[in-house]
C-alpha cells in the first residue's frame, strides 16, 4: 500500500495553511473540526497576522514549523500557491517530512483558464518533486473517524459524542457539494452516521478513485463503500478495480450524467470524460456494483449494508400495522421484479392468528400481514418474532403508524430486545415507523442500538432490493469459482 496515502488518514501532525480566526471562514472551520473530532496529534495553523487561533499557536510559514508535518491542508486563495510552494520547497529540502497535501481551495485546473492550470501545475510540480500525494484541488477534505482526522470545512452539527465513532461506511465523492450534503444529511439521521473514512476528491489531479478504492479495499474497518461519480478518464480500469472489490465488499454508487445533457454538464463540472452512461450501467450490473438513482436511495442503501446481514433469498415479508402503508409497500415491492412475497408455513399463519386481534388479516395476500391499528406493543413484537423464524422469509419490512394510544418508545425498546438482545437475528428487518417528529424518539432508540430505520416503506424496498441483488451476485461469483 502507498505509505503516503496512509498519512492522509493517519498523519503525524497537520498544518493548515490559510487557517483563520474568522468563524465564517473555511480556514476556521477546518481547525474547529480537527479540534472537535479530537485529533490526537499536533495541529499548526499557518497565518501571517494571527498569534493564536482556537488556542493553537500560529506560524507565519510552513517552513517555520519545527515539528514533523505529514499532512498539509491548503485553504488559501489559489493565487497564493506560488509563494506557498516556494516555502514548501524550502521545508522539504530541510525536513522532507510532508507526505500529503489536501488542497481544499478551488480556482485551479477546473476553471480551464490558463492561470488556473498554471496554478495547478505549480502545485503538482512541487508535489511530484518530493513524491507528495495531492488530494483535490477543489474539494471539501478528508475524514477518518477512527484516527480522528477531519480536514473538512463542513459544519454538520454532528453531536460531539458521535465524533470518532466507528462506522462501516466509507465514502468517496467527486463533488464537493454532494460530499458536504452526505455529511450533513448523515449527521441528521435519528442516529447520526459516523463515516469510517470520507474523501472529497475534487479535481483528482493526483489521488483519484482508483487509489482510494484500493485503499478502502484493504481497509478492514470499511464494510461498504459509497461513491458519488460524474466520470473518470479510464472507465475500463475503474470498472476492473470496482469489479475486483465488489466481490469482497459492496460498492454503492450514485452516478450522474444519465441524460445526454447531464453528461455534458458532468464533463464541464469536473472536466472528466463522462463515458457512455448506458455502458457504465451495464458494467455495474455485470460486476455486482450497486447503482442508486437518488440521494436518499444512496444513503438508505449504504446504511442498510452497514447495519444488516445480507438476506438469504429474495423473499420479503411485509408486516404492517396499517392497511394503507401495507398496500403502498406491496406495490413498491412488486415493482421490483427481483423481489418476492413468500408463502409462509401454515404453522406460522396459525401462530400469527392466535396472537393477533380478530380483525387482523394474515397472509391475504401471501407474504403480507396487517396486524391492524388495534395491535399493542406485544402483538407488534410477537408477530415479528413469529414471521422471522419462518424459513421461507428472507427479510421483513415492518411498518407501523403510531396511534396516540400506542407507546412508541416502549415499542422501540421491545424491538431492540427482540432484535439485539435475544437470539441473534440473521435476517434484515427494515423498520418504518411513520412518521415525522412525533415518532423521532422511537427511531432514535432503535438506531442508537444499531437498527436502521427508514422514512418510508418504498425507501426500505429499494434498500432491500439492493441487498438481495448483491447477495445473489455473491452467490453467482461463488458458483463461478
Amino acid at each position: 500500500m502507498d505509505n503516503n496515502l496512509r498519512a492522509l488518514f493517519n498523519p503525524e501532525n497537520i498544518a493548515v495553511v490559510g487557517a483563520s480566526s474568522n468563524p465564517s471562514k473555511a480556514g476556521f472551520t477546518i481547525l474547529n473540526n480537527l479540534l472537535s473530532i479530537g485529533y490526537p496529534k499536533k495541529v499548526f495553523p499557518i497565518n501571517i497576522t494571527e498569534e493564536k487561533i482556537l488556542g493553537l499557536t500560529c506560524y507565519e510559514k510552513l517552513s517555520e514549523v519545527e515539528d514533523k508535518v505529514e499532512l498539509v491542508v491548503l485553504i488559501t486563495p489559489s493565487e497564493m500557491i506560488y509563494g506557498i510552494m516556494e516555502d514548501l520547497d524550502k521545508r522539504m529540502a530541510e525536513k522532507n517530512d510532508v507526505k500529503v497535501i489536501v488542497c481544499a481551495a478551488a480556482n485551479y485546473g477546473e476553471t480551464k483558464t490558463e492561470e488556473g492550470i498554471r496554478r495547478q501545475n505549480c502545485l503538482m510540480d512541487t508535489a511530484k518533486k518530493y513524491g507528495i500525494r495531492v488530494v483535490g484541488p477543489n474539494c471539501i477534505g478528508v475524514i477518518d473517524n477512527i484516527n480522528r482526522v477531519d480536514t473538512t470545512f463542513v459544519e454538520t452539527l454532528l453531536p460531539k459524542e458521535t465524533r470518532g465513532k466507528r462506522g462501516g461506511i466509507s465514502f468517496i465523492s467527486q463533488s464537493g457539494s454532494i460530499a458536504a450534503s452526505i455529511l450533513m444529511t448523515g449527521a441528521s439521521q435519528p442516529a447520526p452516521i459516523s463515516m469510517n473514512k470520507f474523501i472529497s476528491i475534487g479535481n483528482m489531479v493526483d489521488v483519484d478513485f482508483i487509489d482510494l478504492l484500493e485503499y478502502l479495499e484493504e481497509d478492514e474497518d470499511t464494510k461498504v463503500i459509497g461513491m458519488y461519480m460524474e466520470g473518470y478518464s479510464d472507465g475500463k480500469k475503474l470498472i476492473n478495480t470496482m469489479a475486483r472489490i465488489s466481490k469482497k465488499k459492496p460498492i454503492v454508487v450514485l452516478k450522474v450524467g444519465r441524460s445526454d445533457v447531464g453528461a455534458k454538464a458532468a464533463n464541464s463540472h469536473t472536466g472528466s470524460l463522462a463515458g457512455s452512461d448506458a455502458v457504465y450501467s451495464a458494467a455495474f450490473k455485470q460486476y455486482g456494483i450497486i447503482r442508486t438513482y437518488s440521494f436518499e436511495e444512496l444513503i438508505d442503501t449504504l446504511q442498510a449494508f452497514d447495519a444488516f446481514p445480507l438476506p438469504e433469498d429474495n423473499n420479503v415479508f411485509i408486516l404492517s400495522q396499517a392497511g394503507g402503508f401495507g398496500i403502498y409497500c406491496t406495490d413498491a415491492l412488486l415493482d421490483e421484479e427481483v423481489l418476492n412475497m413468500p408463502v409462509v408455513e401454515e404453522e406460522t399463519k396459525a401462530e400469527l392468528r392466535s396472537i393477533l386481534p380478530d380483525m387482523a388479516s394474515v397472509c391475504i395476500p401471501e407474504g403480507y400481514a396487517d396486524i391492524t391499528a388495534s395491535a399493542n406493543v406485544r402483538q407488534h413484537v410477537e408477530s415479528l418474532r413469529i414471521v422471522l423464524k419462518d424459513k421461507n422469509v428472507g427479510s421483513v419490512i415492518f411498518i407501523t403508524v403510531i396511534p396516540s394510544f400506542l407507546p412508541s418508545k416502549e415499542l422501540a425498546a421491545e424491538l431492540v430486545k427482540l432484535l439485539k438482545e435475544g437470539e441473534k437475528v440473521s435476517k434484515p428487518v427494515l423498520i418504518c415507523i411513520m412518521s415525522g417528529n412525533y415518532v423521532r424518539e422511537s427511531r432514535v432508540i432503535l438506531e442508537k442500538n444499531g437498527i436502521r430505520t427508514f422514512d418510508t416503506p418504498s425507501n426500505a424496498v429499494k434498500a432491500v432490493r439492493h441487498m438481495v441483488e448483491y447477495a445473489s451476485f455473491l452467490k453467482d461469483a461463488e458458483g463461478r469459482k
Binding site: 475500463k236 463515458g275 455502458v279 458494467a283 455485470q286
Partner: protein
C-alpha cells in the same frame, strides 16, 4: 480507417464460429444463380453484393421470395439494371442467392467497440420498432454462460421466449450465439462492430438463424 465487410464475408466469419447464418452463394452469372437456387431449394432471396451499394433495398437490389427459376432469371436481370440505375459505375461483386430463412421470433445481437470500455455486446428485441421499444441489454465482453443467461432474462422479450403465447422459443440457441459472438470478438480485436439483425429464433429445439449481418473492421492499412 475502418470498413464494412461485404455480406458474404460477414456471413462466413460468423459461420466460421458456429453462429448459424442463412446459407448463401455468391453467383457471377444467371446459370450459377439457377444452380445455387436449386441446391438451396426455392423460394430464395436475391441481393446485390457491392460495397458501393449499402442501402440495397432502397436501390431495388433485393428480391425476397423468388419462387422458381423463371422468377430467378428475371430477378437477376432486374437487380443488375437497378444497380446500374442507382450508381452507374458501382463495382459489383456478384449476386447473392440466399436461403429464404423461415420467419421466427425476431431478435438482434450486436457488438460495438466503446471508446472507454472496449467491446460491448448487445441483445434485444428485433423488428422495425427496435428504436421505439429499446428492449435491449448490454454487457462488457467477454461474457460467460451465466452472464448470457442473465442478459436474456433482463429483456422484455424473455417472457415471449418463455412461452407467453404458447410457443416456447429456443433460448439455448440465443445463449449460444451470444457466447460465440463473445469468443469471436475476443479473438478478433480488429472488429469494431457486429450487427446480426434479424436473428430468427425458432421453437425450442429448432435453433436460431441469422439472416442479415453487418461487420465493421479496422482496416489493415
Amino acid at each position: 480507417m475502418s470498413r464494412y465487410l461485404n455480406e458474404l464475408d460477414a456471413n462466413r466469419l460468423l459461420s466460421g464460429y458456429g453462429i448459424p447464418m442463412a446459407k448463401s452463394f455468391l453467383c457471377r452469372d444467371e446459370e450459377d444463380a439457377a444452380k445455387s437456387a436449386s441446391e438451396l431449394g426455392y423460394p430464395v432471396v436475391m441481393k446485390i453484393l457491392s460495397s458501393e451499394i449499402l442501402h440495397k433495398t432502397d436501390a431495388g437490389c433485393v428480391f425476397i421470395g423468388v419462387k422458381n427459376e423463371k422468377e430467378l432469371r428475371d430477378a437477376y436481370k432486374r437487380i443488375l439494371e437497378n444497380a446500374r440505375a442507382y450508381k452507374a459505375d458501382a463495382v459489383i461483386d456478384g449476386i447473392l442467392v440466399q436461403e429464404m430463412a423461415e420467419k421466427g421470433l425476431e431478435m438482434i445481437i450486436g457488438m460495438k467497440l466503446d471508446p472507454q470500455f472496449g467491446p460491448v455486446i448487445m441483445a434485444g428485441s428485433g423488428g422495425i420498432y427496435v428504436e421505439v421499444y429499446k428492449d435491449i441489454t448490454l454487457r462488457l465482453l467477454p461474457i460467460d454462460r451465466l452472464e448470457a443467461v442473465k442478459m436474456l432474462k433482463e429483456i422484455k422479450i424473455h417472457k415471449i421466449i418463455s412461452g407467453l403465447r404458447g410457443i416456447v422459443y429456443d433460448d439455448e440457441a440465443i445463449i449460444d450465439v451470444l457466447l460465440k459472438v463473445s469468443k469471436l470478438v475476443m479473438e478478433n480485436p480488429d472488429i469494431e462492430e457486429i450487427d446480426i439483425n434479424p436473428l430468427f429464433v425458432y421453437e425450442k429445439g429448432r435453433g436460431a438463424k441469422g439472416v442479415d449481418a453487418l461487420i465493421k473492421k479496422k482496416d489493415e492499412k
